[in-house]
Structure formats: C-alpha cells, structure tokens
C-alpha cells in the first residue's frame, strides 16, 4: 500500500531531520530515490529546483512534491497523487510538531542541558557529511551529461556548476537568482546556440 509506506517513510524523515532544509533534501534523496525508487535522480534534481523557486519551507515543498511523484510512479491517477502529496507533507511534520508541543509545555529549557548541547553539536557536524553525500550522489550523467558521450554538455555543466558554487558560497548570491540565471543560460546555450 503506497500511502501507508509514504506515511511511514515521511514520518521517519521528519523526526530524524536535525539539519534544516538541505538536510531534508539529503534524507528524501536517500529514502525516495535510493531506497524506494519512487523517482529518478534527474526527477529529483528537477524537484529540488522547483522547490527552491516556489514559496514556502523547502522541507515542505520537497515532501509535497516527492509524495506526488511517488504515487504517480506507482501508477495511480492525479487525484491520488494529490492525496499522496498531502500525506507526505503532513507526516513529515507530525512527529516534530508533537515533540515541539511537549517541549514547549514541559521542558522549555531542555536544549540548554550540557549533554543535549553536545548531542546537538555532534548532529550538526554529522549533517555536514549527510549533505555532502547528497551532493556527491548527484554528480551523475543525469545532471551533468556524460563526459564521453555528451562532452560539450558536460563541459558547459561543469562551468555552470563552478560558477553557481562560487556565486553562492563566496558572494552569497540568492539561490533563486542563481537558478533563474542558470535557466536562462540553459535556454540560450541549448535552445538557441546548440539546438539538438
């Protein structure tokens, strides 16, 4: 039963995400693409792009999208997919919201305990590795073009990758602007200069 599996999968993703939106992307990549095969790596990359360019928390956007795609992938219709997207986005926040209510009501200062502080610091360090793995897993011909068969696309992709990376990391350019610019670059290069 796809809906039950969706519920359980996103329940886990939600409660184990201690690292923000990009960490959620890493967890969803593992559960949705690697483990369950609910979408291809390329669909996943496209989904991340869309989730960043539309309003709302990235974690919610990605969960909604992944729930939708998983149900479509299992062969169901669009209304079923819409149900799937609601199940995914609600189950991803269910346990964290309950946890938040319990903490707010009973132990407001739990995060100030030294052992909890050390645990959170360790988790923060580990999530750096988790997101690194997500990025490494995306270095595929699906997102860059094959270096041997689509050499031109591969070289252009590497240039776009480096330019985006430097602009985001070094110059703190907004991700939305970078996605729009790379989309325009894609249109000019592949649509106008090098039409297939």
């Amino acid at each position: 039963m796809i809906f039950l599996k969706l519920f359980y999968t996103f329940l886990r993703i939600g409660i184990f995400n201690f690292g923000g939106g990009y960490a959620m992307i890493a967890l969803i990549q593992n559960e949705v693409v690697t483990r369950n095969g609910w979408m291809t790596m390329q669909e996943f990359v496209d989904m991340v792009a869309v989730s960043q360019m539309t309003p709302g928390p990235i974690g919610i956007n990605v969960a909604t999208y992944a729930g939708y795609s998983a149900v479509i992938h299992a062969g169901y219709s669009v209304p079923m997919a819409i149900l799937g997207s609601f199940i995914a986005s609600f189950s991803v926040i269910l346990l964290p919201v309950i946890a938040m209510l319990l903490v707010t009501k009973f132990l407001m200062k739990v995060q100030n305990q030294p052992a909890v502080q050390t645990m959170l610091k360790t988790l923060r360090i580990v999530f750096v590795g988790l997101i690194a793995a997500a990025a490494l897993l995306l270095l595929t011909p699906e997102s860059f073009g094959s270096p041997t068969e689509q050499t031109t696309q591969f070289i252009i992709s590497v240039i776009l990758f480096l330019a985006t990376f430097i602009a985001a990391f070094k110059f703190k350019v907004s991700p939305i602007l970078l996605l729009v610019l790379s989309g325009v670059a894609g249109y000019i290069i592949y649509g106008l200069i090098l039409p297939a």
């Binding site: 991340v48 990235i58 645990m119 988790l123 490494l136 897993l137 990376f165």
Partner: protein
Amino acid sequence: MENSEVTKTNANSQADKKVGLPALFSSFCKIGAFTIGGGYAMIPLMEKELVDRHQWVDRETFMDVLSLSQAMPGVFAVNMASNIGYRLRGIAGTVTAVLGNILLPIVIIILWATCFKFLSGNPIFEAIFKGIRPAVVALIASPVFTMAMTANLNWRNAWIPAIAALLIWLLGVSPILIIIAAGVGGFIYGKYLERKGESL
C-alpha cells in the same frame, strides 16, 4: 489610587485580549506564501509580523523560540509556527498557525507537479533544465562548506562528517542510522564531559 486602578484594567485587558484564529492563520499564511528560499528566509518577515506588527510575542521570546526551533527536528518554519501558535491559542493555535504556514506552498507545488508532466517533453523546457541541473547540485554542495564553518568543524572532528559522507555515498548506509549513532554518541560524550566538568 485612581492611577493604579487604570493600570490594573490595562493589564487585565492585555491578558484577556485573545488572539483571533483567523488573524493567526492569515499572518502565517503571509509568512509562508511570500518567502521564497526556505525557512530561514522567513525569519525577518516572521519577526516583523509577530513582534513588530501584532506584538504577539516580545523580541526575547521570539529569539528563544527561534533557537528552540533550530534545535528541534523537522521543518524549521513549521516548528516556529507550532510553538508560537501554541503560546497564543494552545493546540488550536498550533494547528492554525502550521496550516496557515504550509497550505499555500503545498497547493503551489501540487499545481507545479501537475503541469510538470505536460512540460517535460518540451525542448525549450528541457534546455532550461539542462542549465539548471548543475546549478542545483552546486546549491546543495555550497551549504556543506557554510555549515562546516557554523558547526565549528576543525581538524579534530572533521573525520566525523567525512566518514558519514563516505558511508552514505559509497556503501549506501542509511543516513538515519548515522543520525541515530551520532545522536546517541553525542549524548553519551556530553554526559562524559559533564562528569569531567568540561564542555565541548
């Protein structure tokens, strides 16, 4: 005498003034629907709406909720909404604020996902996404380095994320297993440091 009477009624009316659920909903709706770029991009608008405009929480409480929401698992913006909602109107407030925060984004994504199917064969659309895909990978790679700095990564602890990344990337180990191991390990290490009277 008269003065203290006035202050008393003022204080009473402050305490009695219940935040309306529709106002709570529309405020979080605005916060969710008008910020592109994820939860952290919402902080300035949240502060403006909740602290300055409606004065539902004071700045100090807002900062406390912010740090708690970062520490708790899940989606940062939703954690903020559930805590603030609870403070103002209990469970009903939580449900209202959270729904307000996520409903429009969900609807927009569903519309997108439905249109995406029809667009995916289009050559112009394909050209655009051929340019976007490597940029997305770069945008996921860049917070690795920013987070490494804010998480105080140094030569003594850099092996932890390195091994985590290699386990996931090359051996296909589940990230959730690694998170559990890190959480338990970190907590035990914290208790050990506590006993020794140190901190990390």
